[in-house]
Symmetry: C2
């Protein structure tokens, strides 16, 4: 995740823009053009998503270090949507952005190896090396234990820029049903998961002290964020739940260390639908997204003063 940290420092901005398109978010002129060319079909919708994503990426790539496309919204358009996901990843990387595929993938053994190759690596087709999706990082779910994480570590060890983020304490209200349960001895489930992240990442620590095995911890749980920051000194956090889900800059401040590093904060809806909230015409959706991304950057900087002092 070296590249991600370098970009955060360079842009003094620990933001990731969640690329979670739906047709409701996309202005009429983009949809009309796509439907005119491809019909009101999955292909037409996927064309609208791709155009929308590209313009959002263009609008924020010089101020935001990373994007996080959420697989679900692409899969909802079938394989045409998944093709759009691949093109979105590639476009964002061409514009210099770090790409975290939010797939929350999980499985074991050779199946997890297939996910690792799919999203972060390469696959050999009878002697030809092909890149299926080629993202920089992937979110994963650790419910299956080490058998689900170890197949990813090989890819991480080969490239310091690659990373994974393991679900630890998620932003949603019902995350308490399992994650907050206390184990015999008083440990919480999410605490145990956090400890496993530290251990899984042990051999992949880089120059900023963080490993390539990060954790997902929601902005909606500021106390747990701060607790986990202390407890997991080598685990970089991906923090969803800022903005639309209710978390603010003060809530996420605890995720950062004394150098202003330690986390990247996601915003999806507030940026993608900024044109609606700002009440501007759909043609100005990209400018509106940029304005919201700048507002968020300033909001985060105000709560993380050490970040602005990073060289």
């Amino acid at each position: 995740m070296k590249k991600l940290m370098q970009q955060i420092i360079k842009l003094k901005n620990p933001t990731v823009v969640g690329l979670d398109p739906t047709l409701d978010y996309i202005p009429q002129h983009i949809k009309q053009a796509a439907f005119a060319e491809h019909g009101r079909t999955l292909k037409g919708a996927a064309a609208a998503y791709l155009e929308f994503n590209k313009r959002i990426i263009d609008a924020v790539c010089d101020i935001v270090p990373a994007v996080k496309p959420q697989c679900a919204y692409y899969e909802a358009l079938g394989w045409q949507g998944v093709k759009c996901l691949a093109k979105t990843i590639s476009y964002a990387q061409k514009r210099g952005m770090y790409v975290i595929t939010d797939g929350k993938r999980n499985d074991i053994g050779s199946t997890m190896q297939a996910y690792a190759a799919a999203h972060l690596g390469q696959i050999d087709v009878d002697g030809e090396t092909c890149t299926p999706f080629g993202a920089d990082a992937l979110t994963v779910n650790g419910y299956l234990g080490s058998d689900g994480i170890k197949p990813l570590l090989e890819i991480l060890s080969q490239d310091p820029d690659k990373g994974i983020f393991v679900l630890c304490k998620t932003s949603n209200p019902s995350s308490d049903e399992l994650q907050d349960q206390l184990l015999e001895g008083g440990e919480s489930v999410y605490g145990l998961m956090g400890d496993m992240c530290e251990r899984w990442g042990e051999d992949t620590r880089g120059e900023y002290g963080y490993s390539q095995v990060g954790a997902v911890v929601g902005a909606t749980w500021p106390a747990q964020l701060a607790e986990l920051r202390q407890r997991l000194p080598h685990t970089f956090f991906l923090v969803p739940g800022y903005g639309a889900q209710g978390g603010g800059a003060k809530d996420v401040a605890g995720a950062f260390d004394q150098n202003g590093l330690g986390a990247v904060v996601n915003s999806s809806r507030a940026i993608l639908t900024a044109w609606k909230k700002q009440g501007v015409p759909g043609e100005q959706f990209a400018q509106a997204a940029r304005a919201e991304a700048l507002r968020m950057r300033e909001d985060l900087r105000s709560a993380i003063p050490a970040l602005a002092e990073q060289a």
Copy 2:
């Protein structure tokens, strides 16, 4: 999951064939034809997967009730692979099989709704209704709690044939790291997850007494399988780990109720690579798969006598 149970009873066979293709499993003649037409590319590999899957489906569709394509292997071929997944699902359904997409998907709210629409439902594209993948059932991961499951229940309530299987006690050795941990009060994590499955499925119970919310419990844990069968009387089980992972018919017998229902047992590798194990030429891979599926059916019938008596 009504259709699944009806098919199991009709065929007196609680087997699901896991469609987890890799190039290693596919005979040379199929690969050569696909590469000749599409090159040694992701598209070429996807064409080989699809041809392989179709012939496996043809070979078992009159004796096996269901197939379970594992998303990871398709994603490893990029969007071309995901297109192959969609075509595989559609082909299996045309041949009368019940299709469980093994994606272990998990997220919350509108994102989980998108996964539900993607894999089990439909999506509205500006007034046109489109079906992205259209499987009959989906495996999911419940680490995020009810917020990750409830968005699926709406689709289940609209169609008694649809189902989900929530990871409970997985087949892999390290599943103990989290799932076997004991909570304060002595309950295990997988036990808590099992209880949640019963609760989530409460309003979707069908004529056989089972709900549309199933659970994944590995064949490699016979004691836990039997324990969970007693404890979760309305939760249908998807049982991986038979065959290649070490579980046998006696190990899975405890997953079934006194009527011989209650579970469907997966075999992937042993069926897909039967031609290698039987030492027959690659041209006979489909017949070899059928022979292994028949062997497995007899093996399961011998351990579940009540199944053979089902009308």
